[in-house]
Symmetry: C2
Subunit: 220 residues, 2 copies
DNA sequence: ATCGGATTGAAACAAGTGTTTGATTGAGAG
DNA sequence: CTCTCAATCAAACACTTGTTTCAATCCGAT
């Protein structure tokens, strides 16, 4: 591994950037956590900003590889594809397996964008949006008006991202116990059922006795 | 106005903190924008962090006063209260009348909390959450299970906050034209209809021919 | 073994940070 | 007028920041 320190720098930088933000992260802290010399970052990357975009790009590429095209079985009904899609989005953040900073640094870009935001959108957000759009077109019909389809997609993703971005606020609001009780599976089921009911493909919440008939087209 | 410069400092600091974040905002920039001396911030507030929390507290108090208890007419049906509530939340951010930083600095706290986050939650988020809870209890019945009610509230607020937080990402994703076409009124109508359909109190989107009957209880 | 380019190391650099100092101003009170 | 005290100002403080320098080191190729 010839670029050992280079990779160690990216890992340390990504974690610190994701936790503290770009400005609050100091090169000295990054190098210390990476067990590298202070000059290493300038030798391998040129300057701080280039190290930052390298960390973002690494997070993107890892997200791509961790994300096997999200290609569900072709015979999977679209309703179940939506359910699996929502569950997977939630799992990726709230049940972070290894490097929690991969999504953290991209969420920071999306909320308070720097010049690396456009790359994040093109390489990460747009493929995911296209996946969501494909599911929605199967659910709603391929002649569905684009603007309304966009808003429906935003409504679904917005529910998911809410638990991404405002996790600490939710914990303060409802308390640690109630927050811990909101398991990923419970949230995914709720968001899926809420959204399916909204577009008329599932029983509505709140008044469970009412189950509107489901169009035959979307059941296949 | 004896505390003229003190107020000018809070205004300038709030705007710069909201735009650049805490670390990236320099006291010299703030003082220059406030037409105050560099020593003024330490004279009036003590240090940078105290100035920051003063700006957050000012944003909270202003949000309170701008927000007249959100007390709708008592005879307003809960469905219309929800619609008005959602519209008002969206208007406050996307049609910012005067100081756009009041919500920006609080959104920053909610997404990447500092020690001032708890105060924001208690003084700003919790009253708004209680208002939403009151509407939902009227809509769903006052014996509705708390956890599911929380998740429904989060689903509604999450849709709204999505357009708050990820506005720049949405613009990059769907383009400036399509983004400008998403007027506040259009978004509010969509989120309201989407959410009402989800809880079984309105026609579902996507398959407009289906209009499930609305329970009598919630129509009053 | 020796050369040469790649990598690392400690130290210093200039610039910027938040903070403090002490003199200076200004206006109201005695 | 004189005294007083709060407010402002320019200047400097101590410190951290990102960046650079140049010698020391490593390691494979000759």
């Amino acid at each position: 591994m010839i670029d050992d320190t280079r990779q160690r720098l990216i890992d340390a930088a990504g974690a610190i950037f994701a936790n503290n933000g770009y400005e609050a992260a100091s090169i000295r802290d990054i190098c210390q956590q990476a067990s590298a010399n202070i000059a290493a970052v300038n030798y391998h990357f040129g300057d701080k900003k280039s190290l930052y975009v390298a960390a973002v790009r690494h997070a993107q590429s890892c997200a791509d590889s961790e994300n096997p095209e999200m290609t569900w079985p072709a015979d999977m009904p679209p309703v179940e594809r939506l359910r699996a899609h929502i569950l997977q989005m939630l799992q990726r953040k709230l049940e972070g397996d290894k490097p929690a900073w991969h999504l953290g640094i991209m969420l920071r870009e999306m909320a308070f964008p720097t010049e690396a935001c456009a790359a994040v959108v093109e390489d990460y957000v747009r493929p995911m949006a296209n996946g969501m759009r494909a599911i929605l077109l199967d659910l709603l019909g391929h002649d569905f008006p684009e603007e309304e389809g966009n808003m429906i997609g935003f409504s679904i993703v917005g529910q998911v991202l809410f638990y991404y971005v405002h996790q600490p606020m939710i914990r303060l609001l409802i308390g640690s116990d109630a927050h811990d009780a909101l398991t990923v599976q419970k949230l995914a089921d709720h968001i899926t059922n809420f959204s399916l009911a909204a577009i008329g493909l599932g029983p509505s919440l709140g008044h469970p006795t009412l189950t509107p008939p489901i169009p035959i087209k979307a059941m296949i």
